[in-house]
Symmetry: C2
Subunit: 217 residues, 2 copies
DNA sequence: GTCTATAAAGTGATAGAC
DNA sequence: GTCTATCACTTTATAGAC
């Protein structure tokens, strides 16, 4: 945790290398020698900077959550304002639908285009949760779920809570499939990568779907 | 591959134990001694029956694909008949929508209720594909994608191919989320498990969503 | 802060008796 | 078909010189 210039460089190089290797290999298979080699530092320095393998792993997630929160917090703020703000102007379909679509757009942009390593780490943690999963849930997943459900409840006050939460899950699933089942999906689409053109197509369709799911009876 | 009664029992015990352990730990972390212990047999027998660790792993997938195909093939047959059969009676919305909903219902029943181990194995293979992924894709994912896309193309002949395939992916994503992101979803729903009541709620909502996604403009 | 060297504890695989 | 015993190898972690 020292901040002397040399040590900080080492620390960051190790974090970057660990992100890639843990994502590609998973925690048990990841090799500390390989991480150190990729970072261009000596393996023993992992023990010095992060205590042990698990310490390095958790540090990767802590850094990622901070990064992702910085991107999502603006959208959450807009939603909180729409929910708690003064008297809403106009019908719910316009007051709450736009913040909802903005949130979904943000998720699409980040999840579809983000460095694949992040998605792989998230999937692995959902598969075999460790302490890192709590870091993810408390920092990102939970707040995002709460914002989404609150918006949907305002949009469809007639729906019972369970139906609203399930719809929220299904909306998110359309975005998550790009990280959770990227390989079969890319084969289905016959895409080699998701570039700007593909991103536009995805965003447009998910916007359409979200409106259908929210406004359908 | 012998079929003498004693050896066959050992083989099946090893496959069952390997399914659970590979799913929980992943291929690299799974321990052959642990698998043998759980199966109640001697570790050396893994080499005798499956050659090596990889042979055991692939055998798990081969067995699973055979099992799953047995469940899905009836639905695929109904769809093939609707697609290739004689003159369709009535509008596409009735001729093709019912087979589509039947297929989705089947996926829901299997994926939501199946032994969690299968889903975990599938996710892991999508994350770091090995030869087992091809077994999965050729045996299950590919045929299922083709059936779904063919139906959607008939239902919405006006949509371009890319849009149809993307809609197909989004329909599937709603089912897959129950294996790909089960943990956050269960927390969102505040469900401890997916019993008959929860399954009904899921099936009903996914039917609703599928119709909205297919019939929406 | 960084390095070398090595300890300590696994791992998958197999030879050979039964 | 099954078991015991063991080999060859890799892994994480750390002690101690610089």
């Amino acid at each position: 945790m020292k901040t002397s210039p040399r040590g900080e460089t080492t620390r960051e190089a190790l974090l970057e290398a660990a992100t890639v290797v843990f994502a590609r290999e998973g925690f048990p298979a990841a090799n500390l020698r390989g991480i150190a080699e990729r970072a261009g530092v000596n393996p023993a320095l992992i023990g010095y900077h992060f205590q042990n393998k698990e310490g390095l792993y958790l540090a990767v997630f802590t850094q990622w959550v901070a990064n992702m929160r910085a991107c999502l917090e603006p959208a959450w703020a807009v939603i909180a304002q729409a929910l708690d703000g003064p008297e809403p102007q106009g019908p719910p379909e316009t007051v709450y639908l736009e913040p909802l679509l903005a949130l979904v757009d943000g998720m699409v942009a980040h999840i579809v285009m983000e460095h694949p390593a992040w998605g792989e780490l998230m999937v692995r943690e959902q598969q075999s949760p460790s302490a890192a999963f709590d870091i993810l849930f408390e920092g990102i997943i939970g707040p995002n779920q709460r914002a989404l459900v609150a918006l949907l409840q305002r949009l469809r006050p007639g729906f019972e809570g369970e139906k609203v939460r399930l719809i929220a899950g299904m909306i998110v699933s359309q975005v998550l499939v790009f990280r959770n089942a990227r390989l079969p999906l890319m084969r289905l689409m016959d895409w080699a990568k998701v570039g700007p053109r593909e991103l536009d197509a995805v965003r447009a369709l998910i916007r359409r779907n979200t409106q259908l799911l929210v406004l359908g009876d």
